[in-house]
Point group: C2
Chain length 247, copies 2
């Protein structure tokens, strides 16, 4: 359980387990300016079979090849799908309960591991998948180049990152724009959320989760030996950026 | 707006207005021990027409008579129903936006007024309705006798309080029992919740909201010149207690 969360901190895993056991549907996310909301997607999306994924995720999944690392695997939807398609997949997640749920659902190799603890012991990969908006796990301007370089160090030639994100500027909610201003003022990227997930008596620690526009994703990638070669989107804030390893 | 909430504090009213305008369904309630959850009922219940109310509320509504005060009227479902049945109804709520919504929906006399500011200027009443679990607005062992005596002072002979509550002991959630223990340790009633409602960038101030068993409701009533004469329930934690004014 190296790097795993303590029990009461595993709010995401508890949410996922509650959905599995009792069908709970609601994920509560709190932001550090006091804004609180229910996830647009939530548990049903974390368990959705491939045919119910959003279109941009289905389209971009065609670009996965070879040995795959599923970063922030949650309840295992991506790992399960790619396994079935014949890929060798390793899934990692910081949540011990989510990993247990993914395993119970049939994911063959899922491990409790925060993305910051990734190293060569997992072997090398041809594809990194960061679905949902898990490109957000790069955190911000400081961690992103460090983490993307670390991925590069365990990437085979021609490897790709299939990186889901949410464009933070595609909103009409003034509270979100106020948060962007607050972030800029304190030296953070506009969409660099500081959030935690809360569920009953459980709360994750606060963590940074970056919502990046395609332009921002491209810049962060370029600073760390990757190139944004394609953006898959369908007029919504949610998109997948495809990053290719530069030689 | 005497006693009303400031804009960002009116999380309940914003929730109700969002439901009216955009169909939002989710109410988030945070407890002072860090427990957070979505209301079992929430906005759809606050707007429900009489035929969709829970059975215990429909049954107990037959006991309303004469001039009615609807305490914590919210979006106005009780006031609207009783008006239609020919009663003269005054609704009060601490939330300016909720009062505006109730008015927009046709409630004839609804006012922004916290229950603690009730006085003779509203006239006298034959029935007080505290639906949902709004008996909770009596707060706890200290405020309850004071508030119930104040209601008594504006009650006609033979007046009733039709008081909805939730029996806090009918649960199997260990986190709730832990909270009961915490409350007893700090000299509060077990079900004396300290909560706030949160909605986007809005949060109400923390307030006390008492979940009382029928026995506790009966004791609090007796200490303030009321008698619990009937409990309407159907095997669920939710019930209505009927209190009659002692002469």
């Amino acid at each position: 359980m190296r790097g795993g969360l303590r029990e009461r901190e595993d709010a995401y895993g508890r949410l996922v387990l509650d959905h599995l056991e009792h069908g709970g549907q609601i994920e509560i996310v709190e932001r550090d300016d006091g804004f609180i909301a229910v996830s647009r997607l939530g548990p049903p999306a974390y368990f959705a079979p491939f045919r119910q994924w959003p279109k941009h995720e289905r389209t971009a999944m065609r670009l996965a090849r070879g040995r795959v690392l599923d970063i922030g695997c949650g309840a295992g939807r991506v790992a399960l799908h790619l396994q079935e398609r014949g890929h060798e997949v390793v899934g990692i997640d910081v949540s011990p309960l989510a990993v247990r749920v993914a395993r119970k659902r049939g994911a063959r190799d899922v491990r409790v591991l925060p993305v910051t603890k990734l190293d060569r012991r997992l072997g090398r990969f041809d594809t990194f998948v960061m679905y949902g908006s898990n490109f957000g796990l790069v955190g911000g301007r400081r961690r992103a180049p460090w983490l993307l370089r670390r991925l590069r160090s365990i990437a085979n030639d021609g490897a790709r990152i299939v990186a889901g994100s949410t464009n933070p500027y595609m909103t009409d909610n003034p509270d979100h724009f106020a948060y962007h201003r607050l972030n800029r003022k304190r030296g953070r990227m506009a969409g660099q959320l500081r959030i935690r997930i809360r569920h009953g008596a459980y709360a994750t620690p606060w963590f940074d989760y970056l919502l990046a526009s395609p332009e921002e994703m491209g810049e962060l990638a370029a600073s760390a030996g990757w190139e944004l070669i394609r953006v898959v989107e369908h007029g919504e804030p949610f998109y997948v950026g495809v990053l290719e390893r530069l030689v």
